[in-house]
Symmetry: C2
Subunit: 247 residues, 2 copies
Amino acid sequence: MTSEEARTRLEALGFEDDDLTALVAHFEDAERREKAGHGFSRIAWLETLEIDAGARPMRVVAEEGFERWDGAGALGYLVLEEIVRATITSPPTRARVIVAERCFPSGVLGYWVRLLAEGGLVAVLTATSPRRLPHPQGGPPLTGTNPLAIAIPSSDGRPLVADVSMGAVTHGDVLAGRAQPQELVPFGGEQAHKAFALAAGLELLVGALAGEEHGAVLVVAKPAHDPAPAFRSLADGMRLPGDEPPA
Amino acid sequence: MTSEEARTRLEALGFEDDDLTALVAHFEDAERREKAGHGFSRIAWLETLEIDAGARPMRVVAEEGFERWDGAGALGYLVLEEIVRATITSPPTRARVIVAERCFPSGVLGYWVRLLAEGGLVAVLTATSPRRLPHPQGGPPLTGTNPLAIAIPSSDGRPLVADVSMGAVTHGDVLAGRAQPQELVPFGGEQAHKAFALAAGLELLVGALAGEEHGAVLVVAKPAHDPAPAFRSLADGMRLPGDEPPA
């Protein structure tokens, strides 16, 4: 699918103006970063949902160090887009915790934290999604794949962006037939209990702050130091998290 | 080593009163939770360091949503103990980001977040330590084992406490001969790039907020919901992160 076709199909769903641009930009970035399961292929899935393209996220608590948002029926992508824009426009003097209730789907979390880092903020973001990962001992799915994304601005213009799902494969891989359903378990093989513990901790973190429906928790802060260039130098040319895939 | 012997040896290092009690309690908890590398064995190591048992951490910024602490020469254990006590005494109305500069060693992070959860707060804590984990492709150590600990209070009195080091083994395991130095790599086997990405993200998160020396970053928040009991019910008796080891 081309960006042009993506745009046309999203327009047919009722999206327009900034929302349309934001959605296309997110999907294009997912394609470029080889996260195809979060890219244009999602549009066919969106076409199967009941979407209110006019719904707007609402900021229901706005304090210097804390915000609470309600997705209010808007697509999670657009909830995060709105939060990111609002945060870059009015950044905290030091730090802010931002809770997003009813925020699904959340897309590529690394995309949103990268925008924040490009806006000068350290950002940590997690989000819940349908339960798909079982306990390492088996049983029913207990947690979402619950990615954790961390972005750090850098004076060299190359932020570090870690974006790690706790699943060994993605749900998109399973849908596309690239992985078997039984492969969708916490990553780590013999040490899968570690990824499961992180997935469980993040599941309940979001649940405790955002409630039962899928949500997101974001922490942003003004950096006091600039550690990325020295870290990149120490890594001596090895590919670091968030670097573009090799050409 | 008995708790009594631990106490005597720590007293000989100059610790007294609350500090002594706090240190013994942390080491005892590490022993009970089978984290022996963080338990009484650390006392022999402390005896090799130059320790100023009278040093006190200082809170250098105190706002509703942000605090900055300086370890100021105090043992990291005692810096975190002081932060935890101060936070439970004066919790945020909604949320607070707390940065601890010069905070080493930080001990079992799960211990500190559990105290916060028992005090009614959701808590997320990470901390840096000497670089020991190389890039999955090899090369010099780039990051500490950089654990991430997450604790969620529960109305059933059993908080969930995830505490995950990004290393496949611990430095303590290597020191004790239970693991080879070359095994101290990011966990995850074929997917070690995931644990490495988390370790790198956490390394630079702490570096960007707390500076070059080892530090810690803590986020605490008042829970708005109580998801742990339902999660435990769904897990149907399986051991969850932070549960006591089977007898």
